[in-house]
């Protein structure tokens, strides 16, 4: 274990800790809306249904991602209700931007299958939203669905890009009996 840097002197005062309502000073990040996705192969015969997001980037800010089905107009003010198509949410505890030198946060791929070292800490994440009722509701209305993901920035550092916080590779519906 390498030594850490020398201790910091207390040079600034932390802010007030008084609880407050969701801050209006939060940056507004870009949302995502899919094209119409086919649910043809998904039957209604399930006990649980998940929306699985693969390849989710966590290198930047910390955010909440609200997921809506068939509501392309959804934004951070949209009620999180079934009537709004709200399916659930996931959260990302972000790295906070890159604090290293050139290449420090670069995840190189494809990973060699027998490399004994753990994969890069910024290997993209998988997030699962248990969305049984919302998917059942969407299936009740048709065999196509759009997925809108609204990122709400919760926290971050000066090194973060607060506009493009939401990056992922793939959305899947996974059902279970």
């Amino acid at each position: 274990m390498a030594a850490a840097k020398k201790p910091a002197k207390k040079v600034t005062k932390p802010s007030s800790r008084a609880p407050k309502a969701a801050s209006s000073s939060r940056p507004v990040a870009e949302k995502y809306t899919s094209t119409a996705l086919s649910l043809e192969s998904v039957s209604q015969d399930f006990a649980r249904a998940d929306l699985r997001f693969d390849g989710v980037d966590h290198s930047q800010s910390t955010f909440e991602a609200r997921v809506f089905l068939n509501n392309a107009e959804a934004n951070e003010k949209t009620p999180t209700t079934p009537e709004s198509g709200y399916a659930g949410r996931f959260h990302i505890f972000g790295h906070g931007g890159c604090f290293g030198d050139v290449g420090h946060c670069e995840v190189r791929g494809p990973r060699r299958p027998f490399d004994p070292r753990p994969a890069h800490p910024l290997t993209p994440a998988t997030k699962i939203v248990i969305a049984t009722q919302a998917i059942r509701q969407a299936l009740g209305k048709g065999k196509q669905v759009t997925v809108t993901v609204v990122p709400i920035v919760l926290s971050g550092t000066k090194l973060c890009d607060f506009k493009k916080v939401l990056k992922f590779d793939k959305i899947s519906v996974v059902t279970y009996r």
Binding site: P7, A8, K13, P14, S25
Partner: protein, 277 residues
């Protein structure tokens, strides 16, 4: 049980002035040590984020195995254990408390008052903030928080739902998501500067904030409660031998918290030492 350290709730600790003072004393002494002293606050926080980045979050692809695995829970259990040892090395009476963000008090006031009072008895409160070294464009400072509304904190019902999940992989993904939420909630954004968040809100700086340790203690406790329902050794077989660097432990070594020397409770009070001979 007498040889086990009982980790109390923060609310329980606040009812036990001697224990609360011991925690402040231990944190204060660690924060006063030089950062290159491997007993110091800066050293331990730096293992998690900047500059050593050893923490485990989210799944990664395993060795010789295309399946992802996730050491979030066992890695942080080992991390807390050695941090607690280092803390006790400064004050043997200090114990690591868990912050129950589902409690009525938390849903009323948010962060516990013992962590939000800037000063105690006229001196800086070591539970309020800790030293953060300089890192790139972020200058050295003392940790800050801009917490959200208490109503946004997770509920006991949400935790109960987690405890009913029978698969470890399922459970760890869902509890990590709540963990992520709390980091964002506690860090928050500076209302006076919209491109600056609190330290809990980034992996780089989170562990420099004293509330980090009690948040993770809560996560560890929920894993323990899950283990009581779903099995202490309930992890995929191929997890057991995974190393938890740099602690010299494997996943299998940290499954039983009693073997690690601690237990979770709310409060502990000796009623008498005058029993029959």
């Amino acid at each position: 049980m007498s040889n086990l350290t009982l980790r109390p709730s923060v609310e329980g600790l606040e009812q036990a002035p001697d224990q609360l003072q011991a925690l402040r004393d231990a944190y204060g002494k660690m924060q006063a040590l030089r950062g290159d002293d491997n007993r110091s606050w800066v050293y331990w926080a730096g293992l998690h984020g900047y500059p050593q980045w050893m923490c485990w979050h989210h799944g990664r692809v395993g060795q010789g195995n295309p399946r992802r695995y996730n050491l979030f829970l066992p890695w942080h259990r080992a991390f807390l254990l050695y941090f607690e040892h280092s803390m006790k090395d400064q004050n043997e009476k200090a114990v690591l408390p868990w912050w129950d963000w589902t409690s009525d008090t938390s849903h009323s006031i948010g962060l516990p008052s013992s962590f939000t009072d800037p000063q105690v008895d006229g001196a800086a409160n070591p539970l309020y903030s800790g030293p953060v070294p300089s890192m790139l464009s972020v200058p050295e400072h003392t940790s800050a928080r801009y917490p959200g509304s208490p109503a946004e904190l997770p509920t006991a019902d949400q935790v109960e739902t987690l405890l009913s999940l029978s698969s470890f992989v399922d459970f760890t993904l869902q509890i990590e998501d709540i963990h992520d939420q709390i980091h964002g909630w506690a860090g928050g954004m500076n209302p006076a500067n919209s491109d600056e968040g609190g330290d809990m809100g980034a992996v780089a700086t989170a562990a420099y904030d004293p509330i980090f340790w009690s948040h993770h203690c809560m996560i560890d406790r929920i894993w323990y409660l899950w283990q009581l329902r779903q099995g202490v050794n309930n992890v995929p077989d191929d997890y057991v031998q995974k190393p938890l660097a740099p602690f010299g432990l494997t996943v299998g070594d940290v499954l039983d918290i009693n073997r690690l020397g601690y237990e979770y409770g709310v409060t502990e009070q000796v009623l008498t030492t005058d029993g029959p001979a």
